[in-house]
Amino acid sequence: MRRGRPALLAPLLIAAALAARPAAADPKVHVIHIADMAFGAAPAGIKVGDAVEWVNDDMFEHTATARDHSFDLDLEPGATARTIMRSAGEIAYDCRFHPGMRGRLVVQK
C-alpha cells in the first residue's frame, strides 16, 4: 500500500500543477475604461501579444477605432471588447461617433 500511494497521487499532482499554471494562450489584458465621453489613460507596459480591453461605462455607444485600421470595436453602453496587439509601435485611435474622443496606445516588442 505504501508503495502504491505515490503512484496514485502522481497524476493528481500533475493535473493540479497544470490547472494552476496559466495556459500559454492567455494574453495579459490591459483595461481601458470609457466614461463621460472620454477614453481612460493608456495603460503602460503593453507588449506584442497582449490584449487591450475597453469597458464602456458611459451611457452612450462608442467605438475604439484604430487610425491604422488594425482594430475597430463597437461598444454599446455597458459592453466590453478586446483585441490582441499584433505589432509594436504607437497606435492612435478614436471613437467613430464622437471625433473628439481620442486615445493612444504604445505597444512594445
Binding site: 463621460d36 455607444e61 461617433f97
Partner: protein, 175 residues
C-alpha cells in the same frame, strides 16, 4: 426666414427668455430641465426625419447617432427628475425652441436627396452651436441641483462632439 437667424434668435431667447418669465434673473431647475429635454427631443425628431428621407449612408449613420445619444441622455434626465421629485416646467424658451424646430422640420420636408442632406447637416452644425452656447452661458451656471448640473455638463460634452461630427460631415458633403 433663414434658419441661421432663427437659431441665433433662439440663443438669445435661451439666454434671456426663461429669465423674463421669472421675477428672479435666472431660470429655475424645473425650467432648465424642460429646456434641456426639449433641446434633445428636437434633435431626435430631426434625426428621425433624416432617417426617413436620406439615402446617404454617412448622413444616416449620423442621424442614427443623434437619435441614439439624445435618447440616452433624455432617458437619464427623466430618471433624474423623477428621483428628485422635480416636474419639468414648460416656459417661453422651450416653447420658442419647439416652434422654431417645427418650422425647420417643415422646411426640410420640402427638400430631397443631396439638397436635403446638406440642409440637414448644416442645420445640425448651427443647432448644436446654439445649444452649446446656451448650456455653457446659462443653463449649466444657473442650475442649482448638482446632479442636474452634472447631467447638463455631460449633455454639453455630447453636443460638442456632435457639433464636431456634423462639421466633419458638412465638409464631406461640400457644404
Amino acid at each position: 426666414m433663414n434658419w441661421r437667424y432663427l437659431v441665433i434668435g433662439a440663443a438669445a431667447m435661451l439666454a434671456s427668455g426663461a429669465a423674463q418669465a421669472q421675477t428672479t434673473a435666472a431660470p429655475t431647475d424645473p425650467q432648465i430641465a424642460h429646456i434641456a429635454y426639449t433641446a434633445g427631443q428636437i434633435d431626435i425628431e430631426a434625426g428621425q426625419q433624416a432617417l426617413k428621407k436620406s439615402r446617404n449612408a454617412k448622413v444616416r449613420a449620423f442621424a442614427e447617432e443623434m437619435v441614439r445619444d439624445h435618447t440616452a441622455v433624455n432617458d437619464k434626465a427623466l430618471a433624474l427628475v423623477k428621483k428628485l421629485g422635480v416636474t419639468p416646467e414648460p416656459n417661453p424658451t422651450s416653447a420658442s425652441l419647439s416652434s422654431q424646430a417645427k418650422t425647420k422640420l417643415d422646411e426640410l420636408a420640402k427638400l430631397d436627396g443631396a439638397a436635403f442632406d446638406r440642409a440637414y447637416v448644416e442645420n445640425e452644425v448651427a443647432y448644436h452651436k446654439t445649444v452649446n452656447g446656451a448650456l455653457s452661458s446659462t443653463l449649466i451656471p444657473d442650475a442649482k441641483n448638482p446632479e442636474l448640473k452634472s447631467l447638463l455638463s455631460t449633455g454639453l460634452k455630447l453636443f460638442q462632439e456632435h457639433q464636431m461630427h456634423a462639421e466633419h460631415l458638412a465638409k464631406e458633403l461640400g457644404s
